[in-house]
Symmetry: C2
Subunit: 400 residues, 2 copies
Amino acid sequence: MTSDLNLDWLISVDDHVLEPANVWVDRVAAKDRDRAPHMVVEGDMEFWVYDGKRYPSSGLSACAGKSKEEFSPEPVTYAEMRPGCYDSQARLEDMDRAGILASLCFPTITRFCGQLFAEASDREFGLVCLKAYNDWMIEEWCGSAPGRYIPLILIPIWDPKLAAKEMERCSDKGANAFAFSENPAPLGLPTIHDKNRYWDPVMSTASELQMVASMHVGSSSQVPQIAPDSPFMANLAWGAIRTSGAMLSWLFSGMFTRFPGLKIALSEGEIGWIPYFLERAEQVLDKQRYWVQRGVQFGEHATTDVDLSTLNVRELFRNHVFGCFIDDHHGIASIDEIGEDNIMCETDYPHSDSTWPNCITAVKKQISHLPAETQYKILRGNAEKLYRFTPAEPPALTGA
Amino acid sequence: MTSDLNLDWLISVDDHVLEPANVWVDRVAAKDRDRAPHMVVEGDMEFWVYDGKRYPSSGLSACAGKSKEEFSPEPVTYAEMRPGCYDSQARLEDMDRAGILASLCFPTITRFCGQLFAEASDREFGLVCLKAYNDWMIEEWCGSAPGRYIPLILIPIWDPKLAAKEMERCSDKGANAFAFSENPAPLGLPTIHDKNRYWDPVMSTASELQMVASMHVGSSSQVPQIAPDSPFMANLAWGAIRTSGAMLSWLFSGMFTRFPGLKIALSEGEIGWIPYFLERAEQVLDKQRYWVQRGVQFGEHATTDVDLSTLNVRELFRNHVFGCFIDDHHGIASIDEIGEDNIMCETDYPHSDSTWPNCITAVKKQISHLPAETQYKILRGNAEKLYRFTPAEPPALTGA
């Protein structure tokens, strides 16, 4: 019944938590509190400290409540942030105000896929800290408000077997999503094309446990630069090339054939670029696959171990890839090419791209011309299905 | 009068010539014939030789008449190629057959913007050879069939003042387009953002003489690679990131404000990615320009010397940038976002992406739902206007 669909709330599959100061110090052994990520205040400045390095918080990570004229990457303290940045109860108030029924949050200080712990001098202790984050995310952040937060866990990307174990542990605790890198190569790790199949333990576990690999744009620790002196604004606008590269890598990797239960979410990747790159992928496959499949040598070209003659990139996309958008009119205008089952919305709270506090209004403005069933899928239905998540009943509307 | 519009012919703004053996040996001094690019046959093999290096011709550069099952990058000799690859009269027959009224051809052995001569050990002689190419292109290739070929000249990219002189010389001979690099940085040259304004002599001349800067995809001598071992097909499908980077660079460069007559053509860049990146450019400008304009330091971010508060990227695009497509259904479906005055068609003869011999059919299949006036603009009207080119009367139709 169309008329019964509640289109007043959305599920955001990409928000961010600035970890509260207690995440690690509360969960590691007392003797390790100073080794775990912990907050240090010095005069006006405030840093996270871990493994001998200092990490101030960027103002661009905590823009909620600020006007764009005030946005700045300059360091901010937690006291200067809106409490919703780091406090799950304060966040709920901000979510209610903006029509956000549920939210999946990426970490901040650990970086998008836990790079902080992969780079640590002591990875054994890094794993302790990573598990502490996961426990905190599941038990405290999400546990504080059942049905309002979708847990996203980190994995030890430096050890896929340990990663699989951690996925199993967290799956048992209710987690259905893990953070993965859009491109592990710049992190110094084997890629998904690795001949030794480095990632197989992770991907087979993800496939079996139906855990979604969520790849946030920037999770390769790369900021694309068109040229050494290209304008910052141009580089910033170019950012989705990382996600388009990730999508194409996965479609041609053979991973989805080997692990049929695998699903990937292109978090904050936007969607407007998808139709072109899918069409182009079909074209190169149609025209170039014969000589590539024959193994003709061509520069540094590596021959493929995927059977290109049966590869259907559009079908693979439909069955395995989920695009995520904040504000993307062109993407929504292209919904028939992307597929209404493959699109989820985001609010990016509290980052500078966020639409908060006008989140539900901003999404509905983009999709209101679509059938109610389609709107529902984009607003929450696709996310509920992909992340196997049952949200709480919507609270009474509080405005916005 | 709509009914009077001839929609049976197109102008292709991106084709390729495999230079015939005589281009340079006929035009340089007798003593220099062995120093200029010249053809050498050894057994079954055939090479261009220049500056001590050998350059065989790639089969992927001469696919016309071959089935996709036969495509291969393996070396081919001119005798194995369809004569239209290198003979302007044979090319005309192929053009007539495919509904190509006129064609702008990029060079092959010199590479897309004359990199061969920029890399030469003797640039003075490189300039002699470059001028010989331009004379040959204008007088022989284009001169052999008035109204059927649009001349595209090369410039000495290593010396902008000499380049400006060569542009003036060729403009006098009727050339209205020059090849430029989508990204000069990988060529070891200053970019269009250079603080010392390296390219000003070229751009001011282009603006004054109304010479179009035609940037072929790949004219940065780069093949994008998602990761060191990413599948060749994925990298190939990712190719337009070069053109999208070029477009964003130019829009944020300030060039179009400083040189209002400048026009750039994104040759073989395809167009389906344009709407997303334009929309994204507007978003980052809207949200991030305040702190960037204030000059806040951020990593390696260089402050801008462009006034971001008045920058209108969509208007700059409309007035200065021309997208070129071969086969791009998504791009045409997005025509309202790109603009019907900013799209030109290509056939890419004789490369592997070419639609030959079904060129006019292939384009019309993509645009036939559009108003006749719009179809005419895409087929030839926009190219005639941009390149200030009056084509010959269409020959009698010969089939295809």
